[in-house]
Amino acid sequence: MGVLLQVKDLATQFFTQEGVVKAVDGITYDVEEGETLGLVGESGCGKSVSAMSLLRLIPNPPGRIVRGEVLFDGEDLVKVDEARLREIRGNKIGMIFQEPMTSLNPVLTIGRQLTEALELHLGMDRNAANKRAAELLHMVGIPEAETRLSDYPHQFSGGMRQRVMIAIGLSCNPRLLLADEPTTALDVTIQAQILELIKRLSRELGTSVILITHNLGVVARYADRVNVMYAGRIIETGTARDIYGLPRHPYTLGLLKSVPRLDQAMKEKLDPIEGLPPDLIDLPPGCPFRPRCKFTIDKCAVEYPPLITVGENHRAACWVDVTTGQAR
C-alpha cells in the first residue's frame, strides 16, 4: 500500500488577546491508502484544528498555519491556491464534521445537498446526480431513498441526518475521509450502526479514514493505527494493538488505566490521571505532561522529548522508559 497523505511538521496557531494559542505544534504523520488512522486526546489538545488545517479551514484571523507541509498525493495543500483547494475539498477529501460548517442546510432538500457536490465535482447532470444521490442514501441505510430525497433536514432524525452527512462525505468517492467525532452526539446503538457503516464503506471503496474521537473504545474497534495527542503534539503513535497493548507514554498509560472496562473484573477504585489538562497559551518549558506525570526525571522540566522509537512502527515522546521507570 502506498502513502496517501504525508503531514510534515504542521503547526497552527491562534493569535488571541490572551496570547498565542499553539493549538497544533509541529505534528508529523502519514496516512496509508485504505487505512483508518485514529486520533485521540483530551478536549482542546488540537485534534479538530489539526484536521481542519489539512484543508485550510482555519478561521483567519485569529488562526494561521505557521509552518509545515500537507502532501496529499504529492501535492502540498498548504501552498496550493484556493481554487485548487475547492476542487479537493468534498471531492478527493471528504469530511464529516459534527459542527456548524458542514452540517446540513435547513432550507435545501436532502437530495439537493447531495446532488450539489456531484454536479460540481463530478460534472454529473441533474438526472444522473439524482440517481446517484438515491443510491448514496440507500447505501447509508435510509429506506425508501428515492422518496426521501425531497425531504428537508428537519424531517430526519438525528441519526438519519448524521447518515446523510456520511453520504455527502462519501459522495464523490473520496480517497480520504476526515471524520471528526462523527458519532459523539449519538446514542450507543446508533453510534454502532454508523461506525460499522463507515468501516464497511471504507473497506469496499478503499477509502482512507482519519477518525477523531475521545472515545478510546471506538478507536480500538475501528482504527488500524493510532496517534495520541497531548497539548498540540503527537505524543505516541503506533498500531492500535501496540498502543492499547503496550502503551509507552505515561499519558496513554494513564488514560487506558483510568477508564472502567466492561470486559474486565470490577475494580474497587478507578485510577485517575491527577491534575488538569494544560493551558495551551503559556506552556512551561519541557514536557507539557510533566505536572501530571508519575515518571518524571530532571530532564523532563528542561527539554521537550522528541518521538523516540520504542518498537517496530511504535514511537513515544518520553524521556523515561515506562516499563522500567528509568531514563532512556
Binding site: H214, V259, L270, P272, I273
Partner: protein, 348 residues
C-alpha cells in the same frame, strides 16, 4: 396516608428501603395556538415506572438520549409535578414513608433538604454571577442551617471535602475548569447533608482523564456520609463501576432492573443485550473477535410510542404480528425474592 399503586420491590426482600417509586408518570403536554391554547398530544416522557431504592446503595439508570432518565430524576425530586404515581420517601424522623407528590409548603421544604441533584452540565448549571463560596453555601442559607463564622467554616469544609482549595471560595465559575465546576456542584449538593442525591450524568461532559477523579470522589463521599445515589448515565462501563443495581430505560419505561453483576452477566431484555454489545471496549484484540448486535432503525418518538412493547419495531426477536406489537409486556420478577431480576419482555 393511603398508599396505592403497584408495589414493585426491585430490591432484596428485607432491605431497608429509602425510596419507593410507584407508577411514576410524567407527560408533557404539547400545545398549539396562542390565544386559545389547546393540548394536541402528550410527550410520554416517563410512563408508569415502579422501583425501589435501598438506603446507602447506588441505583444506575441507563438508556438512550430522550428515554426519560432526567425526567425520572426530576419527577422524583418534585422538580416536576408528576402526572401520576407516588414517590414514597422514608422520613427518618418518623420512621415511615411520606408521599412526596402529596406534600407542600414547609413539609416539602423540610424534605427537600434530604434530596439533592448534581447536574449534567458543569458549564450551565452554576450561576455565573455568584462566587464559588456563595454557590456552595446557598443551601445553608435557604434552609437556615448556618450563619456567620459557622457558615464560613462549613463552606470551607465543603470545598475541602470535594478537593478544592478553601481560597477558591471568592472565585467565579468562569475561572474554573469543567472538573472543578463539577466539584463545586457536588459541594453544593452536600451542603444541607442530604441522604439522597440524583447524579444526572455527572461526568458525561468531562474529559476521560478527569472522569475517574469525580467518580472516585462520589464513591468516597457515599461511604463517608452514607449517601444513596440515583446515578444517571449513558456510559454503561461507568454505570457498572459505580452502581449496586442498574435499571435500563427505553422510551419512558423500565425494560429491565437487577443487581449489576446479574445485569452485565445475564442480561435478559433484547434491548439491554444490544446496548451492552454496542459498547466498544478499549482493546483492539478483544474488539476483533467480539460479536455485535446492531439494532436497525431509529429510536421512536415518545409522542407516538409504538403499540404493544415499545421496543418491538427494533427488536431482533419480536413476535410480530400478534404478540409484541399488540400486548404490552408485564414488568415481572424472573429472579428470586432475595435476588430480584425484573424484566418487561414477552420472550423471556
Amino acid at each position: 396516608m393511603t398508599i396505592t399503586g403497584s408495589n414493585i420491590t426491585t430490591t432484596n426482600a428485607n432491605d431497608d428501603i429509602l425510596l419507593d417509586v410507584r407508577d411514576l408518570t410524567m407527560f408533557f403536554p404539547v400545545t398549539r395556538g396562542i390565544i386559545f391554547e389547546r393540548k394536541v398530544a402528550d410527550v410520554k416522557a416517563v410512563d408508569h415506572i415502579s422501583f425501589t431504592v435501598k438506603r446507602g446503595e447506588t441505583l444506575g439508570l441507563v438508556g438512550e438520549s430522550g428515554c426519560g432518565k432526567t425526567t425520572t430524576g426530576r419527577a422524583i425530586l418534585q422538580l416536576y409535578k408528576p402526572t401520576d404515581g407516588q414517590v414514597l420517601f422514608q422520613d427518618d424522623d418518623e420512621g415511615n414513608f411520606i408521599d412526596l407528590t402529596k406534600i407542600k409548603g414547609e413539609r416539602m421544604r423540610r424534605m427537600r433538604r434530604k434530596m439533592q441533584i448534581i447536574f449534567q452540565d458543569p458549564y450551565g448549571s452554576l450561576n455565573p454571577r455568584m462566587s464559588c463560596g456563595s454557590i456552595v453555601g446557598e443551601p445553608l442559607t435557604i434552609h437556615g442551617l448556618a450563619k456567620g463564622k459557622e457558615y464560613r467554616d462549613r463552606v470551607e469544609e465543603l470545598l475541602t471535602i470535594v478537593g478544592l482549595h478553601p481560597y477558591f471560595a471568592s472565585r467565579y465559575p468562569h475561572e474554573f475548569s469543567g472538573g472543578q465546576r463539577q466539584r463545586i456542584g457536588i459541594a453544593r449538593a452536600l451542603a444541607a447533608s442530604p441522604s439522597f442525591i440524583v447524579c444526572d450524568e455527572p461526568v458525561s461532559a468531562l474529559d476521560v482523564s478527569i472522569q475517574a477523579q469525580i467518580i472516585n470522589l462520589l464513591e468516597e463521599l457515599q461511604a463517608r456520609f452514607g449517601l444513596t445515589y440515583l446515578f444517571i448515565a449513558h456510559d454503561l462501563s461507568v454505570v457498572r463501576h459505580i452502581s449496586d443495581r442498574v435499571a435500563v430505560m427505553y422510551l419512558g419505561k423500565i425494560a429491565e432492573i437487577t443487581d449489576r453483576v446479574e445485569l452485565y452477566e445475564n442480561p435478559l431484555h433484547p434491548y439491554t443485550k444490544a446496548l451492552l454489545s454496542a459498547v466498544p471496549i478499549p482493546d483492539p484484540v478483544v474488539e476483533a473477535t467480539r460479536e455485535r448486535i446492531i439494532l436497525q432503525g431509529d429510536v421512536p418518538s415518545p409522542l407516538h410510542p409504538p403499540s404493544g412493547c415499545n421496543f418491538h419495531p427494533r427488536c431482533p426477536i419480536a413476535l410480530v404480528p400478534g404478540v409484541c406489537n399488540e400486548v404490552m409486556p408485564e414488568f415481572r420478577n424472573v429472579g428470586t425474592a432475595d435476588n430480584p431480576h425484573f424484566v418487561a419482555c414477552h420472550r423471556v
